[in-house]
């Protein structure tokens, strides 16, 4: 089993004719993802190099192909609008890969999401993958191990790959891995996904990769404690050595006003009974130990 995406996911690629969109369409197709449509305004009626039909609007793409999910590779100035179009068309899930969307543009998106059934992953994220089934985003598929029992939720990109790689090397497969994105405003956060992993019978443990800035990790810790999350969780927080007031790459990764430090986050997670790895190199090993312990108990 998996969460959010599976063999029934029928995908639209928004920005399918752009450089990024075209490249990753190819990559996703070769992983086995069911891409049913592309959307690029004014190119409707044509087909992309792989023979995927292109539509002018998301609404038509959905109507004529039965698509339920969209991945957004639209440039930052227009990406928020592309997300709004998906919400208006009533898709179930949006995965927004685009990096660099202005915060002010994300406000109406957040508002529209709150008033609809649509869920959004990202923006500024690597995407979501159910290994062996469907890959939606830009992550390298081959590092993942199918038919697994561990879910991964991460605010990071390449650091997620590092964590997944460690899991696969330790012979731990993954149910679903989600990069939730590094921006201050994101569609889905740890506390939205933990309940889904709780309900997923195949998932026996969860890896959480956080980073400095914001309070998402503290909220996750609180949620785990309050809801008595029953599965072992291993967490790592990037940015233990980051200076205050400096934005570390991601728009959300900044310690400001005395809030959002790695130390605070690690302490909150630990007091919720979550196993926090000090080192980014030991995420896989620690999860292995926890899974073995839960079997012997």
């Amino acid at each position: 089993m998996s969460i959010l995406v599976n063999e029934n996911t029928k995908l639209i690629v928004q920005g399918i004719t752009g450089k990024e969109g075209a490249f990753h369409t190819q990559q996703m197709l070769s992983y086995g993802t069911r891409i049913v449509a592309g959307v690029t305004p004014c190119k409707g009626g044509k087909k992309d190099v792989n023979g995927i039909p292109i539509f002018n609007t998301v609404k038509n793409a959905k109507k004529l192909t039965g698509a339920n999910t969209s991945v957004v590779f639209v440039p930052p100035a227009f990406a928020a609008d592309a997300c709004l179009e998906c919400i208006d068309a009533g898709l179930d899930l949006i995965i927004c890969i685009t990096e660099g969307i202005p915060t002010m543009d994300m406000m109406p998106v957040k508002n529209a999401l709150e008033h609809s059934h649509t869920r959004m992953i990202g923006p500024n994220c690597p995407g979501i993958i159910t290994p062996g089934v469907t890959k939606i985003g830009i992550m390298p598929g081959f590092i993942h191990k199918p038919h697994g029992n561990v879910g991964v939720i991460s605010r990071s990109g390449t650091l997620t790959y590092e964590a997944v790689h460690q899991l696969s090397r330790s012979d731990i497969g993954q149910t679903t891995c989600i990069g939730i994105g590094g921006d201050p405003i994101i569609g889905t956060t740890f506390t939205d996904l933990l309940p889904l992993f709780q309900d997923d019978t195949d998932t026996e443990g969860v890896v959480m990769i956080g980073e400095i800035g914001g309070t998402a990790e503290e909220e996750a810790a609180e949620w785990v404690q309050k809801n008595k999350f029953s599965k072992p969780v291993v967490a790592f927080i990037a940015g233990q050595t980051a200076p205050t007031g400096r934005r570390m790459g991601h728009a959300g990764a900044i310690i400001s006003g005395g809030k959002g430090s790695a130390g605070d986050k690690m302490q909150s997670l630990r007091s919720a009974g979550i196993k926090v790895s000090d080192s980014p190199a030991e995420i896989g090993i620690i999860m292995k130990t926890l899974l073995n312990d839960s079997i012997t108990v």
Binding site: M106, E114, P126, P140, E162, H165, Q240, T241, G249
Partner: protein, 390 residues
């Protein structure tokens, strides 16, 4: 992006946020001319640097008369101003703001920022103006009054009124404050700000509300639609190596350790810094080369890292997803032949085509140390850096 106080006050003035009369000056002559134009007797001379705490460091001085403005401007221009926000190295003062003195009755605080925990902008005020607001928020959080602005909506008049009354304002002060708060919100949204702070926002003895200071940060992602704001950028306020890095689309932040690092992705770059620390070293920088780890970017990365004399070793940590490791390996080898690198280089490549990459590294005549995993890489980088240090 940050701007100077005088630039922020220009934006305020244009939007209807009351500010004291004043003019910027880059030389003693301009300072005197500014005093002339103001045509008053009592002035404030304020050093313009991108850091707070200027008053305590001697960057804000009162002057009575033009001659004193001249004297103070002479001393202040070119001085190295150290505040709690500049770090011990301080900042060189190149611009001043010459202003009229305000008739202060109360000092308040006002600010707007994103509250990412509920995805709403929050308008904050406090009666405790003129002091460090971080301290107030930590020690007496109930003295900060907040109004959250709903997504897709603007600050409402009733919210501005609530804030004004919570500050204990009365009579004419209330109307002035409401007008000021509404105008501030307009500046915030019109220019895609990520932060506005006024500390202090003062109530004068004649019941006016005046922004005595201005601190504005802008959302870098939105600068593309604000050319006028881009023009306000003062590159001399930014770390030269960071400005240089930006030219090559590298994301670099200088730190004070001795292990340089070059990584793809911000999260992994932070994690690499962290693991260097865990193994007893200190990172010299944050450097995210993004998705383009070719010979050119790696060469620029080397140059920027090596401009820092503290660097005793360089750790390259690339997790190849879309980037192929064999290409990165070749890029590193080519870069090493282009740039003179006189400290040990430790390379760890993982991901797509990692095996081919390690073969290429093995066969190269260039000198570097190959690491097998993240932990191994950090240990090696720290060990050689500490050895070189001796």
């Amino acid at each position: 992006m940050k701007i100077h106080e005088y630039q922020g006050k220009e934006l305020f003035r244009n939007a209807g946020v009351p500010v004291p009369n004043g003019f910027p000056a880059c030389s003693v002559e301009e300072a005197v001319e500014a005093a002339d134009r103001l045509n008053i007797d009592a002035f404030v001379v304020k050093a313009q640097i991108h850091a707070g705490g200027r008053g305590k460091g001697g960057g804000v001085k009162l002057a009575s008369g033009k001659d004193e403005v001249r004297k103070i401007a002479h001393a202040m221009l070119g001085m190295n101003l150290v505040t709690h926000q500049t770090g011990p190295e301080g900042k060189n003062v190149q611009r001043l703001l010459i202003e009229e003195v305000s008739n202060i009755s109360r000092e308040l605080y006002a600010g707007i920022v994103l509250d990412s925990s509920n995805c709403r902008f929050v308008f904050m005020v406090s009666t405790e103006g003129g002091v460090e607001i971080e301290k107030v928020s930590k020690e007496t959080p109930d003295k900060i009054i907040k109004e959250w602005i709903k997504p897709n909506e603007d600050l409402k008049f009733y919210q501005a009124r609530k804030l004004a009354f919570a500050l204990g304002l009365e009579g004419r002060q209330v109307g002035h404050a409401v007008k000021t708060f509404m105008a501030l919100w307009e500046v915030f949204t019109n220019y895609d700000c990520s932060l506005i702070e006024i500390n202090p926002l003062v109530v004068t003895k004649s019941d006016e509300i005046i922004a005595l200071d201005s601190k504005i940060n802008f959302d870098d992602n939105a600068l593309f639609r604000h050319e006028d704001i881009q023009d306000m950028r003062d590159l001399s306020e930014e770390e030269p190596s960071e400005v240089e890095a930006k030219k090559y689309k590298l994301n670099y932040i200088k730190l004070d350790g001795n292990v340089g690092c070059m990584v793809n992705g911000a999260g992994l770059a932070m994690a690499t810094m962290d693991i260097i620390k865990i193994h007893g070293g200190k990172p010299a920088n944050f450097l995210d080369v993004g998705g383009i780890a070719n010979a050119k970017t790696v060469a620029h990365g080397f140059k920027i890292i090596l401009a820092d004399p503290n660097v005793k070793s360089i750790l390259i940590n690339i997790f190849g997803g879309i980037v192929r490791c064999d290409r990165v390996a070749q890029g590193v080898i080519d870069a090493l032949s282009q740039v003179k690198v006189d400290v040990p280089v430790i390379i760890r490549l993982e991901g797509t085509n990692a095996e081919e990459a390690n073969n290429i590294l093995d066969q190269s005549a260039q000198k570097f140390i190959v690491a097998t995993n993240l932990k191994d890489a950090a240990e090696k980088a720290v060990n050689v850096a500490n050895k070189e240090q001796l």
